[in-house]
């Protein structure tokens, strides 16, 4: 009687175990070790396993770290917002207006993503730098006398490139939501007298909000974790909580404090994501959508 279920269970175990072991050994275990280290103390050049909460006290009381964590959250939210606004029309176009070249357009969007952070950041520096394309172009056509320095090494530049970097994730998330949308609902809305705009406002947008939310969560997490962009594009404004962790693991050699910052950041991140997800699932729209699935 239980034999059929046993076979299925065994199959599941065989398939799932390798990935579980892999992630367990090389992600969970290292993160746990980092957690353990975060209670250690550094004595000159050695870590001392003298468990205490001093590092957490430092993180929580330090104005600098609090500001950096706050800044990371703010930038994450801003870029999530920017990408959502920029991506939605594009995702809508690919999902609703394109038939033959759908896959081609999506692939074209992903190619710069697959090129890696470095090449992309590299390219943007060429575009935005003091001797970069934009400035030399502006000088060349006589639009400005001096190169505009603020184009590069500013928070604005950093946000621009972050938005550029993570736009494809948002487009994909929204595009999937739009593709899953039952097309007869659009016909039903039109049939009931809704124009294009109202169909969009009252049918398409609410039903694809989960896609926007998933995209926003991804972009948010990725922006917070981004190390290269603020450092190489943001200039002096490029100090982030992530670069602080990097410094503590590098030159400053204070792994315990670095570990504490990392865990505080992850705790904030998980809390925010969980709160947002719960809020979304508890909302009237969320509950209605859950039930239809």
């Amino acid at each position: 009687m239980a034999s059929l279920e046993d076979t299925r269970r065994k199959e599941f175990a065989v398939l799932a175990t390798p990935a579980v072991l892999f992630v367990g050994a090389f992600c969970i275990a290292p993160l746990a070790l980092l957690f353990l280290y975060s209670f250690y103390r550094v004595d000159f050049v050695a870590m001392v396993p003298d468990l205490n909460l001093r590092n957490y006290a430092t993180v929580v009381t330090s104005e600098t770290y609090r500001t950096l964590i706050g800044k990371a959250m703010l930038h994450g939210a801003l870029v999530a917002g920017f990408t959502a606004v920029l991506a939605y029309p594009l995702a809508f176009f690919i999902a609703m207006r394109v038939k033959v070249y759908k896959a081609a357009l999506l692939t074209a969007l992903l190619i710069p993503l697959y090129t890696g952070d470095l090449v992309r950041i590299f390219a943007w520096r060429v575009v935005l730098g003091a001797e970069g394309i934009l400035n030399t172009f502006l000088l060349w056509i006589g639009a400005t006398e001096q190169p505009i320095m603020a184009l590069l090494f500013s928070t604005g530049a950093s946000l621009l490139v972050l938005t550029y970097n993570y736009l494809p994730f948002m487009v994909l998330a929204i595009w999937i939501a739009l593709e899953l949308l039952d097309r007869s609902l659009l016909e039903a809305a039109a049939d009931l007298g809704a124009g294009r705009f109202r169909t969009f406002r009252h049918v398409v947008l609410p039903l694809t909000l989960p896609g926007v939310l998933v995209g926003a969560l991804m972009v948010f997490a990725l922006v917070i974790g981004d190390y290269l962009t603020p450092q190489l594009i943001g200039g002096s404004s490029g100090v982030t909580v992530i670069s602080a962790i990097h410094d503590l693991f590098g030159a400053a050699f204070d792994w315990p404090l670095g570990g504490a910052i990392a865990w505080v950041l992850m705790a904030v991140l998980v809390t925010l994501i969980a709160a947002l997800a719960t809020l979304a699932l508890r909302s009237r729209l969320g509950r209605a959508l859950l039930r239809t699935r």
Partner: protein
């Protein structure tokens, strides 16, 4: 189990006629807290065409999937040829299935699809010959090298059939296999299926929600509702003598007139009806002193009866044109009744009519 005159006598010899092919005992299926199949019992005979009929969600597909081995049995047992198969995985059951959407392997040609089962069991020696035979039976020899995507719905259907029966299963399961076809194709395939079954001498277990299909095909019918079997038997018996009001209504939409049962003896009930007292055969659940239903089929009610024993007055409320006949809805005997009438006798909504029926057609079921 009661026998009926319509049943095909099994040609599997004495033993086949005696011992059943498949026995389900207290078969139960739970999906979490939902009990989809509630402890049902039934027996499938050798060389017969059995349909299991019911509305969607009645548990009929769960039963097929348990026999096929795709769903674990939550309670009870299944025996095939006397062997308990309850815990046998799908790939070791001598049972094959024709899936609702055919589930043909898109990456394999028609020939390879049909050969799949034999190949899995390592019967490569006889494979080519048997696959050719099976394809010939469903007249798909010419399409052997095509891929499923290149076939029409009806052709895919035939390949799915061949792929299942080429393995010579003890039992062939069919999960609403005609539901994806258009009406004309469906009628055609019904005839083919019936002929195919006779030719193969195999037992078909056929799930459907379409009662016309069930009547057209089966030697034995199982009517389900809400996870229980409401009635099983030969199609004619179920139509003529439904076991209860649900079956009477579900099968052919009988008119049900509430009556009070005064007496019951030897399967004959005496009841007070709006048309006077009647004595007629009744179903098992009917008891003296209870309220029951007089079950009248649309085709047994006649307009302007000449010398029939029983008649009552009514007013026509709706007339639906059906080509060769009309469906007439009449308000009478305290109910809205439907009847079929041939010809054009000036019956219109609002006209007063007299409706009659022959006592010989009357049947009483419990409420």
């Amino acid at each position: 189990m009661e026998r009926s005159e319509s049943e095909l006598s099994g040609d599997a010899g004495d033993e086949g006629a005696q011992s059943p092919l498949l026995v389900a005992r207290n078969l139960t299926k739970d999906y979490g807290p939902v009990r989809a199949v509630r402890s049902v019992d039934f027996t499938l005979r050798h060389d017969s065409f059995v349909t299991i009929l019911g509305p969607s969600g009645c548990g009929k597909t769960s039963i097929l999937r348990m026999i096929g081995g795709f769903e674990a049995v939550s309670g009870g047992e299944l025996t095939l040829d006397g062997v308990d198969i309850t815990a046998v995985p799908a790939n070791r059951r001598p049972v094959n299935t024709v899936f609702q959407q055919y589930a043909l392997f898109p990456h394999l040609s028609v020939r390879d699809n049909v050969a799949f089962g034999l190949r899995m069991k390592g019967r490569t020696a006889e494979m080519a010959k048997r696959v050719d035979e099976a394809l010939a039976i469903v007249r798909m020899e010419a399409m052997a090298d095509r891929f499923p995507a290149q076939l029409s719905g009806g052709q895919q259907q035939r390949v799915a059939l061949a792929r299942a029966f080429v393995n010579q299963p003890r039992l062939l399961l069919l999960d609403e296999p005609l539901s994806a076809l258009d009406r004309k194709m469906r009628k055609h395939m019904q005839i083919e299926l019936k002929e195919l079954r006779q030719r193969l001498g195999m037992t078909f277990f056929y799930v459907t929600h379409d009662q016309d299909e069930a009547f057209a095909l089966s030697d034995w019918m199982i009517v389900m509702n809400h996870g229980v079997i409401e009635q099983q038997g030969a199609p004619q018996d179920i139509y003529r003598r439904p076991a209860n009001a649900y079956v009477a209504d579900f099968i052919g939409g009988a008119n049900l007139v509430p009556v009070t049962v005064m007496a019951k003896r030897d399967g004959v009930a005496g009841a007070d009806t709006p048309m006077g007292r009647i004595e007629c055969p009744c179903a098992a659940g009917v008891a003296a002193g209870s309220t029951a239903f007089l079950c009248l089929r649309a085709e047994h009610l006649v307009l302007s009866p000449a010398a029939t024993a029983r008649a009552f007055d009514g007013v026509v409320t709706h007339v639906i044109f059906q080509g060769d006949s009309k469906i007439v809805e009449v308000e009478g005997a305290g109910r809205r009744l439907t009847l079929t009438a041939a010809g054009t006798d000036g019956v219109e909504p609002g006209s007063a009519v007299r409706v009659g029926f022959d006592d010989a057609h009357a049947w009483i079921v419990a409420g």
